[in-house]
């Protein structure tokens, strides 16, 4: 399953709930304001580390990081994708869950 989160972790708890439901082999893609979770000093840093340890893959949409001036602050172990990478992720996973 591909989980997509588009809200800042400071605004909603979407990512927190998402990570609770993410199973090994799932992927989490951070887009729009969701990318702030994947930057240094983010309150989600520890939770993301735990997810990685449980074989959950983490991705962030590069254009959204760049637009917000955050591309140099992205956490290691987060794979950056462009729009075509986004499309690949959607097609590689049988289901997608957009955590609004």
């Amino acid at each position: 399953m591909l989980h997509i989160v588009n809200k800042s972790p400071y605004q909603t708890r979407s990512l927190e709930s998402c990570l609770r439901m993410a199973l090994p082999g799932h992927a989490v893609l951070l887009i729009e304001d969701g990318i702030y979770a994947a930057t240094t000093g983010s309150p989600m840093q520890a939770s993301l580390g735990q997810a990685l340890a449980q074989q959950v893959k983490l991705y962030a949409l590069k254009p959204d990081l760049e637009a917000r001036g955050m591309d140099s602050r992205v956490l290691p172990d987060v794979t950056l994708v462009d729009y075509s990478g986004f499309v690949d992720l959607v097609s590689e996973h049988p289901t997608a869950n957009s955590w609004l």
Binding site: M1, S17, W99, L100
Partner: protein
């Protein structure tokens, strides 16, 4: 027949999400699909007993959850952690539900063909 899961995570009247979800659930049910509903985070407030909306001039749509049964929508699941966090228990809810722990909910979610989040 596909397995559709509707994940409800918003409180009922502050935004339109809860009502929109309910409408889509009813449409999906008439298309004869396997429908389940999940209530987690603030979504658990959607099915709290005793909602009285006269004072805010918005239709109280909470009785509709009790009518889902008539559309063969009988799989209603609630996230235990979300209930507990809000000081709620099953007796505070207006419709029969199955309460699931995180691991059970994650497993159920991963078995779906389609997931729609509201």
């Amino acid at each position: 027949m596909k397995k559709f899961m509707f994940v409800n995570r918003k409180a009922p009247y502050g935004t339109i999400y809860a009502l929109e979800s309910l409408e889509v659930v009813l449409i999906t049910a008439t298309l004869d699909q396997d429908v389940s509903l999940v209530f987690m985070d603030d979504g658990v407030y959607e099915i709290v007993k005793g909602q009285q909306t006269k004072g805010i001039g918005i239709k109280n749509f909470s009785p509709s959850y009790r009518a889902l049964d008539g559309y063969d929508v009988e799989k209603l699941y609630v996230d235990q952690a979300s209930l507990t966090e809000r000081g709620l228990s099953v007796s505070d809810l207006l419709v029969p539900v199955e309460v699931l722990e995180t691991a059970q909910m994650a497993e159920l979610m991963s078995q779906q063909d389609v997931i729609l989040s509201f």
